[in-house]
């Protein structure tokens, strides 16, 4: 056991308004996997999971391989095996993960993200921006979303999302 105390990016209690909740979540192990040119298929075989197409996620048990940019995907869950035909980088500590769930998630994100998320399907992933912040949007079931941004920007992300929730909530209360 390490003697140093591990801290999450925020350590905030979940914030709920208008039937919608924002909460910091621990995604566990996140590993960036970038296959070398022409190695996607070999990588897929080695991992036992298909390297995802842009905007897609492949799943195998608890492991998810999430497209994260040009020739790069994030393996979420297990620690990858050694010897992959790819660059492998531990990203677990680089990101803050926020879960947005509930009734008004799409309305809240419409204030922040320039994407049409109304018809987003579970298993889709988007690289986009949350106002000025870099953002990865993982689409969950029932219009729930997991939002990943740089860990150092966690407070700004939390501030901007809760601000949007407050305004959406005020609109909902006004009718």
């Amino acid at each position: 056991m390490p003697d140093l105390i591990a801290k999450s990016a925020l350590g905030f209690a979940p914030f709920t308004l208008a039937g919608t909740t924002l909460a910091e979540v621990d995604m566990g192990q996140i590993t960036a996997i970038a296959p070398f040119p022409g190695q996607s298929e070999a990588l897929s075989r080695a991992l036992g999971m298909a390297f995802p197409a842009p905007g897609a996620v492949t799943q195998s048990g608890d492991a998810r391989l999430v497209w994260a940019g040009r020739d790069i995907a994030f393996l979420i869950g297990p620690v990858p095996p050694d010897g992959l035909p790819a660059a492998v980088t531990d990203q677990s500590d680089g990101w803050v993960s926020l879960a947005l769930t509930g009734a008004c998630t799409v309305d809240v994100l419409a204030r922040l993200v320039p994407l049409d998320l109304r018809a987003a399907q579970s298993g889709q992933v988007f690289r986009t921006a949350l106002n000025h912040l870099p953002l990865i949007v993982l689409v969950g079931i029932e219009r729930s979303f997991t939002l990943l941004t740089y860990r150092s920007m966690a407070k700004t992300a939390w501030h901007e999302i809760t601000e949007a929730m407050v305004k959406v909530g005020a609109r909902a209360a006004t009718g």
Partner: protein, 972 residues
């Protein structure tokens, strides 16, 4: 005056409001304008230039006269159109542009001296004497200029920005827009229907048309109910689409909270960015006036506003009304007013062949030549043939025809087309990709025509979307004729107004033409016509017709000015929603942030990061005391600082070494495992991009560090180089800046501190690196130094950053060391002559900073060829030097260097200062700077001049490395 039984207001919900301190009553559903009319308030504002009393002119967002200030608890909003502002309980309104009061305005004196204040008055008058401009004229003009006033405080109101996406955006919910939306929605399209009014229906709510044999409002109610029930339709009322932009993107402003009492957190406005695959502009048309003498008197209004006030709000602005028209559209207005029991004294129709109107006096071939009544219309003069008669009326409705609301079609450089038949501009097809124009906006003015055009626009758009034909049965309605005979101005001696908002008359336009400003764009700027908040909606076409007349060119040849976004005013607060204070830019916080703040460190922003400036101790009163102490501490014992902000890029692959050799000017691939090398990176133009270190973690595994400032820039550069020049190389990289928390430990006791932290001696040579276990956590240790002392950087996964920082701090303090901040870090590196982006600021080369030998002769690299161009090296270049003042005087960054005895002119400048600091080690102020042929001039004495801060100091030119030039401490 209120009319019983009329209007769509809720008479069961009375509302009180205040206007200029007086309390008035209205109803829910009223606009401020309709409520003022109900209370017989005739003068609502003063004009911009002459301060003439003005009344309400229109019933829409184009209103040029009735601009007021809305006073809220935290906001004071000027130039609010009374015709747009909805009434709510407690609404507080103040008239503007008058002093001391609306009834008596001292600046109305301008109106008396109007003959001297014609167009171009400023340009001609305030030319001389020249010295009067700054002291007298400009302050005077500034005081008199402008409409409305600001509170002088920040706008603390809540605003919102949002995105919306749809298959089809329908702009305007009159007959054409409703028909478009209905047809498209029934075919399954994802539809947004936006209208600037509080209610959908457009002119159908105002005019007493019939659809399918019943009042049109019943058809509207049916359509709105159906649209409301459909999940694929979003109805956006109170939303003005203000601009058309690239790729089907539209700007739109929604009034979210402005029509109700302020509520906590409810946005006042929302600025929408709507992305639509197709759009249909069904924004209707704006009625235009006719210029005649004193046509700006309160009570002279647009004819079409009268049925709106009657049928939507149950008010009429006069007891005895006349109508002045050149087309058939005002006939229905007359009939509505008569039916409501309002006396219509006469219809003055400029057309000699105008139709009769049963039960009404129609003066055919007649014109209104003058209006009388300074504070409210009393009388008009009618000219017919050679005779003039006077008619007592308190309201005159004017219709000079209709201008299609085609503004959005011109937002991407489209130009409208002149229609002789309509005497109006109509939009050109395809001016906005994906947009169709339907109904009155396209010059189709009958209800039947609008419904048919709406259905057709929907059909064509659905086809383009691949959503079928969208056939919907057209409701039955009338097809009333328009029959216009153009009339722009009535000849006469007095002033006839074109632009009410900016006080531009027919004479001003004629004068502009006479003085040579004959282009419509020049006329606009010379007279200010069309430059008021209404942006010429009420006056542009008439003004250019008058200009065409004055220049004898015709309207087509005269052309129009450019229609630019926004269509109606958009508050900057809405466009910048969320951008005040902390919302201005993302904030990046270090894991040590709280620990630093706990120690009272002032945080400074570097890039987006917040870093401690210094760590004050009790008794220290200035930053310099803390900084000097921290520098001495690092030089004598040990200091700890957070360097996690430095960019860290993990680079892997069999071709990684080759790639690094290509992006760094020096050779990196030969670096042994477990070693670190300093590297310099050039831009393609041969100037220095960034510097940093590169560590070899494995055979094919490297870790590049960049400066904080250029972390993103370098990442982008690597991406570009890889994609553009070596896409097939087996190399991949990923940013790990956020993944590791990294702390510098520097000073003679650095090794002891690291030993204490690790529980073992680091055993690393200078520029070595290794993996370590720190308190049970896997980390990395680098022996590198940015201070000139023996230095280490220790890195752990970010989650452990705060714990390690606190632990290192505590251990350092027991050894007589402690934390140091950015100020001390800067002084330490200046003492050592290390560069930052103050030196590699984008205009310096490797030669300039004395590193030309780091551009390897054995290999190619980005920027190498360009760095070898003539002029990139040699004695003409300004080269990095150190400077020490001869006296104990502070020196400043940004100062310039001059040889002694030369004139202090730009041409004589020999160089400039980039970095300064006081060195407690050397006990002198120090500077780094660039000096022409500087390396050959060590030992010279120069003048350091900073005229902005009054610095003039003699300095000695020295080697830039002030401290430990041989690097013995570093390598200890």
């Amino acid at each position: 005056m209120r009319i019983d039984g009329k209007g769509r207001i809720d008479r069961t919900r009375p509302v009180t409001f205040r206007f200029d301190g007086c309390t008035y009553a209205g109803y829910k559903g009223d606009t401020l304008a309709s409520a003022l009319i109900a209370n017989d308030v005739r003068v609502v504002g003063r004009s911009f230039k002459y301060h003439r009393p003005r009344g309400i002119l229109t019933a829409g967002s184009e209103e040029p006269n009735a601009l007021v200030e809305i006073i809220g608890p935290s906001n004071q909003t000027p130039n609010t159109r009374a015709t747009v502002q909805e009434l709510f309980e407690g609404l507080e309104v103040r008239s503007q542009n008058r002093w001391p009061s609306l009834g008596f305005d001292l600046l109305e004196v301008n109106d008396l001296v109007a003959p001297f204040l014609s167009a171009g008055f400023y340009y001609k008058t305030f030319m001389w004497p020249r010295r009067f401009w700054e002291g007298l004229y400009e302050p005077l003009i500034r005081r008199a200029a402008g409409l409305g006033s600001l509170s002088g405080r920040h706008d603390e109101g809540v605003y919102e920005k949002a995105w919306a996406h749809c298959d089809m955006l329908v702009i305007g919910a009159g007959p054409a827009g409703l028909m478009t939306a209905l047809t498209a929605a029934r075919a399954g399209a994802d539809v947004i229907l936006a209208d600037e009014s509080s209610e959908l229906g457009g002119r159908l709510l105002s005019d007493e048309a019939e659809i399918d044999g019943a009042p049109a409002v019943e058809w509207v109610a049916g359509v709105v109910a159906e649209l409301t029930s459909m999940p694929n339709v979003r109805l956006m009322t109170r939303t003005s689409v203000t601009g058309a932009y690239d790729d089907g993107t539209f700007g739109a402003l929604e009034r979210v909270g402005l029509h109700r009492r302020p509520r906590p957190n409810l946005p006042r406005e929302c600025f929408w960015r709507i992305v639509a695959k197709r759009s249909v502009l069904a924004a209707g048309a704006l009625e235009r006036s006719v210029a005649f003498e004193d046509n700006d008197r309160p009570g002279v209004m647009m004819a079409s506003s009268l049925p709106t006030y009657l049928n939507r709000y149950g008010v009429v602005p006069g007891k005895r009304i006349a109508l002045f028209t050149n087309n058939d559209s005002a006939r229905a207005t007359a009939r509505s007013l008569m039916a409501a029991g309002v006396e219509v004294a006469a219809i003055i129709d400029s057309r000699t062949d105008a139709p009769d109107e049963p039960g009404m006096v129609v003066h055919k071939g007649a014109q209104v030549v003058r209006a009388r009544g300074r504070m409210g219309l009393r009388e008009i003069t009618i000219a017919k043939g050679g005779t003039q008669t006077r008619l007592e009326v308190d309201c005159l409705g004017v219709s000079g025809g209709w201008n299609p609301t085609l503004h959005l079609t011109c937002h991407m450089n489209g130009r409208p087309r002149w229609s002789d038949e309509l005497a109006a501009f109509v939009p050109n097809e395809g001016a906005i990709p994906g947009m169709m124009v339907a109904g009155a906006a396209n010059g189709t003015f009958s209800t039947h025509g609008c419904l048919a055009a709406g259905a057709e626009a929907a059909r064509a758009s659905l086809e383009a979307l691949g959503l079928g034909s969208g056939a919907v049965d057209l409701p039955q309605t009338t097809d009333a004729p328009y029959n216009i005979a153009p009339l722009w101005q009535v000849p006469g001696k007095g002033r006839a107004w074109l632009d009410f908002a900016n006080d531009v008359t027919v004479k001003d336009v004629a004068l502009s033409a006479q003085e040579g400003f004959r282009s419509v764009e020049h006329m606009k700027r010379y007279t200010t016509q069309g430059m008021a908040p209404d942006q010429g909606k009420n006056s542009n076409v008439a003004a250019l017709a008058v200009l065409a007349d004055a220049t004898g060119r015709g309207i087509v040849q005269t052309g129009t000015t450019t229609f630019r976004p926004p269509y109606t005013p958009v508050s900057i607060a809405a466009m910048g929603a969320g951008g005040r204070g902390d919302g201005f830019a993302p904030q990046r916080f270090l894991t040590s942030d709280q620990a630093s703040r706990d120690r009272g460190a002032p945080m400074i922003e570097t890039g987006l990061w917040y870093r401690p400036s210094y760590f004050p101790k009790p008794g220290e009163t200035t930053w310099r005391e803390a900084c000097d102490r921290e520098v001495s501490m690092v030089r004598s014992s040990v200091g700890v600082t957070d360097v996690s902000t430095l960019g860290k890029i993990d680079i892997q692959g069999p071709d990684a070494g080759r790639f690094l050799d290509f992006v760094y000017s020096n050779t990196v691939s030969t670096l042994p495992l477990g070693r670190v090398r300093y590297g310099l990176m050039l831009r393609e133009d041969g100037h220095v991009l960034d510097d940093g270190t590169c560590a070899r973690l494995g055979e094919d595994h490297w870790l590049m560090t960049t400066t904080t400032a250029a972390a993103g820039l370098v990442m982008r550069h690597l991406d570009f180089v890889q994609q553009a020049f070596c896409a097939r190389w087996r190399v991949r990289f990923a940013s790990v800046t956020e993944t590791w928390a990294q702390f510098a430990v520097a000073g003679p006791l650095a090794r002891d501190l690291i030993t204490s932290e690790l529980g073992r001696a680091p055993g690393l040579p200078f520029m070595g690196c290794t993996t370590v276990t720190v308190q049970g956590v896997q980390g990395r240790l680098f022996r590198i130094s940015f201070s000139g002392e023996e230095g280490y950087e220790i890195a752990v996964p970010t989650r452990y950053g705060e714990a390690l920082f606190r632990d290192l701090t505590a251990r350092a303090e027991t050894m007589g060391g402690g934390l140091y901040g950015m100020e001390a870090l800067n002084v330490l590196r200046i003492e050592k002559g290390f560069i930052t982006h103050a030196e590699i600021h984008g205009r310096t080369t490797a030669f300039d900073i004395g590193m030309e030998r780091m551009v390897s002769a054995k290999k190619d690299c980005i920027g190498k060829a360009a760095a070898a161009r003539p002029g990139m090296t040699g004695p003409e270049r300004e080269q990095l030097v150190g400077l020490t003042p001869l006296t104990d005087s502070p020196v400043t960054a940004g100062a310039y260097l001059f040889a002694q005895g030369v004139a202090l002119t730009r041409e004589n400048s020999a160089g400039y200062i980039t970095s300064v600091g006081y060195s407690p080690t050397i006990q002198s102020h120090l500077a780094l700077g660039f000096l022409k042929d500087g390396r050959a001039r060590h030992g010279e004495t120069l003048r350091l001049i900073d005229r902005l801060r009054g610095v003039d100091v003699l300095c000695a030119v020295v080697d830039p490395v002030f401290h430990d030039p041989k690097g013995e401490k570093l390598r200890a």
